[in-house]
């Protein structure tokens, strides 16, 4: 494989690590989720473009569309949290703490 796929994998790993570690905002984790999706889209597009396998152009497109829906759902949850607590800090999500 070529070097650019390695960089896309590293970008995916960086965004995944960023999504798993919260700091203060929940919005930052949603942005890292979008970054994961973007790196997967670019990787799938490049593999399809380099191999000239025409039918798998639908894969990055459907991935993009599903990611848009998932972003909408994440933002709906964020808006709900923000309406309840006034901001989207993750320290507000402490109902299950004893």
């Amino acid at each position: 494989m070529s070097a650019i796929y390695m960089n896309m994998t590293i970008a995916f790993m960086a965004s995944l690590t960023g999504m798993m570690m919260y700091r203060s905002h929940m919005m930052s984790s949603l942005l890292c989720l979008e970054g994961m999706m973007l790196s997967m889209f670019v990787m799938a597009s490049l593999i399809t473009l380099n191999s000239h396998y025409t039918l798998s152009y639908t894969i990055p497109l459907v991935l993009l569309v599903f990611s848009a829906c998932e972003a909408a759902m994440g933002l709906a949850l964020l808006v709900l949290v923000s309406n309840t607590y006034g901001s989207d800090y993750v320290q507000n999500l402490n109902l299950l703490r004893c």
């Binding site: 979008e34 670019v42 909408a72």
Partner: protein
């Protein structure tokens, strides 16, 4: 040392992805994601995928990032935290840049890395356009249009699940 310009752009892509993964304030994270998205689009355009690059700009940046932008404006704080205002943020950013630079140095000198998968060349700058396939048509829109002919079941399932997803989102946002 063979230099492929798309490898350099993908290094910038990784730097952009690290830029929002260290989690500054979301407005700066959104800016970094826009930069990464633009760079990803340029990489895809360079390999001949004009339709897919347009999809990145229209759907990803123009659709999703706009929504993220004004949702971030809703949850804004008075002093947003940038990349240099917190020790944790800029130290992790510097460390990630150093690691990426080290990886690029190893690449450009040895041209071979094997972690689990073997990465063994820089890639081609000019892509060989094979005979056959779709001929004079552009491959991108032809392949995407195949979602209506060869992949119609995918179209049906995706459409139905997105419809269900929209109803779920509306029920979530209704609250109470």
């Amino acid at each position: 040392m063979t230099l492929n310009v798309y490898y350099f752009l993908s290094i910038l892509f990784v730097i952009g992805c690290v830029g929002f993964s260290v989690k500054p304030s979301p407005i700066y994270g959104g800016l970094s994601l826009i930069v990464s998205g633009a760079l990803g689009c340029v990489i895809i355009l360079g390999y001949g995928g004009s339709f897919l690059g347009l999809m990145v700009f229209l759907v990803f940046l123009g659709g999703m990032m706009v929504v993220f932008g004004y949702t971030t404006a809703m949850s804004m704080e008075q002093y947003p935290e940038s990349w240099v205002s917190n020790v944790a943020v800029w130290s992790v950013m510097l460390f990630s840049l150093f690691m990426e630079g080290l990886l690029s140095y190893v690449w450009l000198n040895y041209d071979y890395i094997e972690v689990i998968v073997q990465f063994n060349n820089m890639g081609e700058w000019v892509i060989y356009d094979g005979e056959g396939g779709v001929g004079y048509l552009s491959e991108g829109p032809t392949g995407v249009g195949a979602i209506y002919s060869y992949n119609y079941w995918l179209m049906f399932v995706a459409g139905w699940s997105l419809f269900a997803g929209i109803l779920i989102t509306m029920q979530i946002i209704r609250g109470n």
